[in-house]
Amino acid sequence: MARWGMVIDLDRCTACQACVVACQVENNVAPSNAGQAEAGRAISWLRLVPIQGERRGTRPDLQLIPLPCMHCSHPPCIKVCPVQATKIDHEGLVSQVYSRCIGCRYCTTACPYTVRHFNWKKPEWPAPMEETLSPDVSVRPRGVVEKCSFCHHRLQRAKDKAQAEGRPLKEGDYLPACAESCPAEAIVFGDLDDPRSAVVRLSQSPRAFKLLEELGTEPKVTYLSKGEWGGQV
């Protein structure tokens, strides 16, 4: 059984935000207006956030890194949900059941990475964009929590395709929108249980680290950087 994970190479990342836009379009995340952004309510499944790094030469000590859901192996959000609206499946994907969520926001407060978002309003798109919504992803109603799903609708599609072609799923069949769109190829996605996969090879790199590893959440997103990061986030 596959265990899906991601590696983000910060030495390659140019902070261009192509991944952020690709994610937004792929997952029917409504664009936020200035007012919502100012109120601190902009929804973004994948954000570039400032993080404390090491100052070297001209490199600033505060850097922007892409922050998706970590899809932790021990997710603090799942335990606290009173209605089992967030679950981890057998392939390690942490998902949200929008139709069951009561919007108590316990998961959002329990998540140390602050990657879960609450729908303060009914999502709205400007007129022409409404017709370009992805049919594979449900639009969330007001009052529920949502988050990065590692584009799990793409996994289903990839599985169907592989089955139709009578072959097993191979590396690269299933890629989230962010990994697919990254022009610097900084986001690598694959099966952490497949010893030949790129994600396994990269996550064994001496440059590899995880965010807030000391909390024991066991994130399935690994970062790569030559700089000193550990313990400074």
């Binding site: 601190g40 404390q52 009173p82 108590c104 140390p112």
Partner: protein, 445 residues
């Protein structure tokens, strides 16, 4: 049972038999505030939590603060009353009911706060349908419902003989008192059963009450968020709850005493004794707060220190030091001094101060930890909206209104317990004291 049976306790029935203009003005004002709250609530129902001041990452604010605060107040009644009953504290007789009513009423408001906080209140039944027992919120649902059930029974049992008195006195309200009195006539068997039931309930409610606020604290302590993830939270919350609860009883007693002229029942000695208890809890509060903050400071973990400093010298410092002054610096000298403690005003000033301080403490537990998340490096500001403040005001107003309405239907000071005190407790107490002495007869209680 005729009027002579009430004996000297006639004054206790007066609030039920006559209602003056003052009451209607009081009730009307509260009702107006409550109506404003309903307006605010409809506003929220229509526009969702968009009308709150909440944001990312401060996902919880006033509603959760009020939830912890109201559930805390609920520890006033039942717990204090049960402990005093079990300890045979004779001075309890005129205050137990006033205390127990607070518990039962305020629990509804505590639970309602959580529903106000939901993004999808229409799905609240999912908690039963898809309940996840690893969630501390579900533990809360269980312990609060259990507490509400137990404290309602515990309020009702000692009401039965008084309801029977009212049934015989006020024929116009037989429809209400008749069924509620359960055919009470005061036979020795009934008295024996009631005594036994009250004692059993008094024992049962104590662990339930302790569990309630422990579990409330666990909603925070079970997460890994800095300055929430603390083993001291259970007892710290219970102590804070009883602390604010005693304050609430003292304020209620002062109002009842003044409004219904019950100076003869709620005497300075009652205020003095409860004031002493409030003093003890003020010291306990100081001890727990000191232990919690010193441990955090000495350990000096950066994430914890960020929140520690935001409270002690950062943007929350005005609230933090107000909390310290109102929870300790004001009540301590007032209550430690026998002259101010033995007066109604001394206790009331201390109690109001404690209520303000304990509300601030709850706010300072909920908001600063969320304002400074581990990731990303942001510091958000949360300013509650008019809707949140209005609903807070409305909850307090409707609570007071329901309390006042209760006093119009049931005696707020237990008639039969006062009478029992007059008739038998002087003898019982002297027998008990004799049994303590060398050569005295053995006594059962």
């Amino acid at each position: 049972m005729d009027k002579s049976d009430i004996g000297q306790e006639e004054r206790l029935l007066r609030p039920i038999q006559e209602t003056g203009r003052g009451f209607w003005i009081f009730a009307g004002t509260l009702l107006a505030i409550g109506a404003w709250g309903v307006f605010a609530w409809f506003n929220q129902l229509r526009r969702g939590l968009d009308v709150s001041g909440l944001n990312v990452p401060v996902y919880w604010g006033l509603y959760i603060t009020n939830f912890v605060f109201f559930i805390g107040i609920s520890h006033a009644g039942t717990l204090i009353s049960a402990i005093l009953r079990l300890a045979h504290a004779e001075w309890r007789r005129s205050i137990t009911r006033a205390a127990e009513v607070i518990t039962v009423l305020v629990l509804f408001f505590g639970m309602s706060c959580v529903i106000l906080d939901l993004g999808r209140p229409d799905r609240v039944m999912n908690v039963l349908r898809h309940g996840n027992f690893t969630s501390p919120l579900l533990w809360d649902v269980c312990s609060v419902s259990l507490y509400l059930t137990a404290s309602t029974i515990y309020l009702y049992l000692p009401l039965i003989p008084d309801i029977a008195i009212l049934r015989d006195l006020i024929p116009g309200r037989r429809w209400l008192y008749g069924p509620l009195s359960l055919g009470w006539t005061g036979t020795p068997r009934q008295v024996h059963l009631l005594d036994k039931a009250i004692s059993v309930m008094a024992i049962i409610v104590i662990p339930i009450a302790v569990s309630v606020h422990t579990v409330v604290s666990w909603v925070f302590a079970m997460t890994v968020q800095p300055m929430w993830h603390s083993t001291i939270f259970g007892p710290y919350f219970v102590v804070g709850a009883i602390f604010s609860g005693i304050g609430a009883i003292l304020i209620a007693m002062a109002i009842i005493r003044k409004a219904y002229h019950l100076e003869d029942y709620l005497k300075p000695i009652h205020f003095n004794n409860l004031g002493l208890l409030l003093l003890v809890f003020s010291l306990l509060w100081f001890y727990f707060t000191f232990a919690e903050f010193l441990t955090t400071y000495y350990g000096g973990e950066p994430m914890h220190m960020t929140i520690f400093l935001s409270k002690t010298e950062g943007k929350f410092s005005p609230l933090f030091w107000t909390m310290f002054v109102t929870c300790f610096a004001i009540p301590f000298p007032l209550l430690a001094n026998r002259r101010t403690r033995g007066t109604v005003w001394g206790c009331v000033v201390a109690s109001v101060s404690v209520e303000v301080g304990m509300w601030l403490e709850r706010f300072l537990i909920v908001v600063p930890s969320l304002s400074n998340p581990r990731l990303p490096l942001t510091a958000a500001t949360y300013i509650p909206s008019w809707v949140e403040w209005s609903l807070f005001a409305a909850f307090i107003a409707i609570f007071m209104l329901l309390y006042a309405v209760f006093t119009k239907f049931f005696p707020i000071v237990s008639i039969w317990e006062i009478r029992e005190g007059r008739e038998s407790s002087v003898r019982e107490v002297s027998e008990r004291v004799e049994s303590y002495l060398p050569g005295g007869a053995e006594s059962a209680s």
